[in-house]
């Protein structure tokens, strides 16, 4: 549910999507295909709603009840495991069984969803229009001025918050009230906790390369590296230097961030098992008392309250460590989560539902799930949530900013990204390889990666421009951007 994971799963789902798209050719034969026509879907029956946001159960149920009370009719929601969402969609697409509303896990860039006529525009009510005005970007949520989707989650988040066991940090002389922490203080604290002998200080999720990729990017930003992001998700091809438009994975800040993680291993403060844990396992080990500190997203208290309720009161949180403790991070604009099928016969109903998504009550309900934070961070204050969640949101409010997005400037950038072959070893795999001792020279490995991904983008740009789209390296340049400031819609 955090951006990176979504991106990753999205990619895999997209693959299956394509797989099944081809499979669906038969039923997609030209004369019978209903794609885009919208006429064959009778506005009868219940409104079908498919998504993969399992933690949103209560928030969406409330929304649907409001909708039904207002005479909108029944909504039938199907929740998919993120791994299956894209596959289900494509099967449905092939056999003309598309739901009225779906969450776009497939990672097909929004412009492509629109140009392939998979989705339709919705009409928001006036209250929703004014509420959403500042959140909508042309080329991402609106196309030719028409609204297609609404962002639910804030771009002000990351998955590298420092979650810790209060007792252990206090005993080691740390300040549990601090909202930020420096690299030096983090290392000192970690050594002190380990020396106390109860447990190693830090548990990592070194088996989860997608999360490692996200963490290294955010650590590099916190170390002062300004970056541009296409969306709020982190995936190497989407992350560039705003000044030059180049990839900069071999820059000083990335190497320093990598060395910082490596120093935790060298200091002997890492739980040995970290090398074979993904985020879910690592969190469970941390909650079971195997380690004192764990980097995770804001959803951590939400998971703990369900699975490890006894541990939650012993927990607090500070921002990700940065060299001087004042590191900002930023992400691109958050893309829309829900889309209406072009074939939906419930255009008015979906418009009403999407309007309800922009109401403050929904943001509050969203916040009370303690999952990804709502677009309106202030809504968290009104929600009944664990204090650590509020604290995490306070940290995001102070230290997370909006990065410039090449995709928003030119939607054709999305086509370029879609054309790029994956470079192996990936950024996350290099981090894993360096921390695990398979790579000796981090700088050389990152340079090789950076050269390869740069060349791959050049190739993709050539391929896309030869198809007639206009896109160039200049689309990636944002000369006026400074890390720590917001790059709002007015600056494009």
């Amino acid at each position: 549910m955090n951006p990176t994971r979504r991106t990753m799963l999205g990619a895999s789902a997209a693959a299956l999507t394509a797989t099944l798209a081809a499979c669906s050719r038969s039923s997609d034969s030209p004369d019978t295909s209903g794609t885009g026509s919208g006429t064959d879907a009778a506005p009868t029956g219940t409104l079908q709603w498919w998504d993969h946001f399992e933690p949103l159960e209560s928030a969406l149920t409330g929304l649907f009840e409001d909708f039904a009370t207002a005479g909108g009719g029944e909504v039938e929601r199907t929740v998919y495991n993120p791994n299956e969402m894209g596959q289900a969609l494509q099967l449905a697409l092939g056999s003309d069984q598309m739901p009225d509303v779906f969450s776009n896990l497939t990672d097909i860039p929004a412009p492509a969803l629109v140009s392939r006529e998979l989705v339709g525009a919705v009409t928001l009510d006036s209250q929703a229009q004014s509420a959403a005005a500042d959140l909508l970007f042309e080329g991402m949520h609106t196309f030719d001025g028409a609204v297609y989707s609404i962002p639910l989650f804030s771009h002000q988040q990351h998955s590298s918050l420092t979650w810790f066991d209060l007792d252990q940090v206090e005993r080691a002389g740390g300040d549990p009230e601090a909202m930020t922490i420096t690299w030096e203080e983090f290392r000192r604290l970690a050594r002190a906790i380990t020396a106390n002998g109860d447990m190693p200080a830090w548990v990592g999720n070194l088996a989860f390369t997608g999360r490692l990729e996200e963490q290294i990017v955010d650590l590099a930003q916190a170390a002062g590296r300004p970056l541009a992001f296409n969306t709020a998700g982190v995936s190497a091809p989407d992350v560039t230097d705003p000044a030059t438009g180049d990839y900069v994975f071999n820059s000083e800040e990335f190497i320093e961030a990598l060395e910082f993680l490596a120093s935790l291993i060298a200091d002997g403060v890492m739980l040995g098992a970290s090398t074979s844990l993904d985020a879910r396992d690592a969190r469970a080990r941390w909650a079971a008392g195997d380690a004192a500190i764990f980097f995770d997203g804001p959803w951590n208290p939400g998971v703990l309250s369900g699975q490890f309720p006894d541990f939650l009161p012993q927990v607090s949180v500070t921002n990700l460590p940065s060299p001087d403790g004042n590191g900002y991070t930023a992400r691109g604009p958050s893309s829309g989560q829900f889309w209406m099928s072009a074939t939906s016969g419930h255009v008015d109903g979906v418009g009403t539902l999407f309007s309800l998504l922009t109401r403050p009550e929904f943001s509050t309900a969203l916040a009370s799930n303690m999952d990804q934070p709502p677009v309106d961070l202030a809504a968290v204050a009104d929600a009944d949530v664990d204090p650590t969640y509020t604290r995490a949101i306070d940290i995001f409010t102070d230290w997370c900013r909006l990065a410039p997005s090449p995709l928003v400037r030119n939607p054709a950038v999305g086509e370029v990204i879609a054309q790029m072959e994956e470079i192996r070893p990936s950024l996350g795999e290099i981090v894993q390889g360096y921390l695990g001792g398979n790579i000796d020279d981090a700088s050389a490995a990152l340079t090789t990666f950076n050269d390869a991904i740069s060349a791959e983008r050049d190739r993709a740009i050539d391929a896309v421009t030869s198809d007639g789209l206009e896109v160039s390296l200049a689309d990636w340049e944002f000369s006026g951007y400074e890390l720590g400031t917001d790059y709002g819609p007015d600056r494009y």
Binding site: M8, A11, A15, A207, S276
Partner: protein, 314 residues
């Protein structure tokens, strides 16, 4: 099995009239298999070959014909060859060990007077039944470097702890060990079956002659089992080529490609890569299929040559 069948005597030929009379029945009896096999095995094989010549991106539904260029790329793809190496290493190491352990157990458990024999057989077969996904999770605990029982044992013996699944030096070995554990039961059943063909009276006669366990094994069991060894080894090789699930749940091919078997690499290309490529995945699949046939074929050839020579010398 296949080879033994094709080499076995031709079927009895019923009288011509009978054949004519049964023509319809024969067709009816073969039809389901021919039709289903054609639809679900032959056709997909041919489609895979076709897909392998397509540029078929994950993010789009467009397919265009590009000929053999995926094959060029695959032959020069270091990760593909690495994955083939890992797969072959798993076969080379686990098959002999698995076949040997299974044989020893089968001989012990074949003893009719051994108490609890059937219960023990079931116990050793049990891992075969267990769902792979959950086996991956359990083994994470068993092999855990900080708290797992294996490392606790090592500590008692005064040895340094080993990061079984987390280190690229040991991950492959650990996967091999778990693979042997998971599937040994089925090989044991094959051996038990083979042992049923050894007449009990041979042992009894030998025992009356005062033959010891080793003697019986060396002069009765072993010679009688040799022909089966080929088939059982072959079946084990084929099963081992499909280590996919286990690797995916235990290590996902990592750390740092150390357990990347070919099927996992293909799966990544098709489904989980940042920019999935179904045409290329199909290419790797076809190449892997060809490699499998080559490996199995040469194993068969070697066996046949060795056997042939034996017959000549005998």
């Amino acid at each position: 099995m296949a080879t033994t069948l094709t080499r076995s005597a031709p079927p009895p030929t019923p009288p011509r009239s009978a054949r004519a009379r049964h023509g319809g029945w024969i067709a009816l009896f073969v039809a389901p298999t021919v039709v289903l096999f054609g639809l679900y095995t032959l056709w997909p094989s041919l489609s895979s070959v076709f897909y392998s010549m397509l540029e078929w991106r994950g993010l789009g539904t467009d397919r265009s014909f590009i000929g053999l260029s995926h094959y060029e790329r695959a032959l020069a793809d270091p990760l593909f060859w690495r994955s083939v190496g890992v797969t072959m290493a798993i076969i080379a190491v686990t098959v002999p060990i698995r076949v040997a352990i299974a044989l020893v157990l089968a001989i012990m458990l074949n003893n009719p007077r051994l108490p609890l024999a059937r219960l023990l057989r079931t116990a050793f077969f049990l891992p075969v039944v267990a769902t792979t996904a959950i086996v991956g999770i359990v083994m994470g605990f068993v092999l855990d470097p900080s708290a797992g029982p294996v490392n606790t044992l090592l500590e008692l013996l005064g040895l340094p702890p080993v990061d079984f699944l987390g280190s690229s030096d040991t991950a492959l070995g650990s996967v091999m060990a778990v693979h042997i554990w998971k599937w040994m039961g089925i090989t044991m059943i094959y051996w038990l079956a083979a042992l049923q063909t050894v007449p009990m009276d041979l042992y009894e006669a030998a025992e009356i002659d005062g033959a010891g366990t080793w003697h019986k094994f060396r002069h009765i069991t072993l010679p009688m089992l040799t022909p089966f060894a080929v088939i059982i080894t072959l079946l084990t090789v084929v099963e081992t080529m499909q280590v996919f699930d286990l690797v995916l749940t235990m290590t996902g091919g990592g750390p740092f490609f150390s357990t990347l078997v070919t099927e996992v690499y293909i799966y990544e290309q098709a489904f989980t890569s940042a920019n999935p490529n179904l045409g290329y995945a199909a290419t790797l699949g076809v190449l892997f299929g060809v490699l499998t046939v080559i490996v199995v074929g040469s194993l068969l050839l070697i066996t046949r040559l060795v056997r042939g020579r034996k017959e000549v010398t005998a």
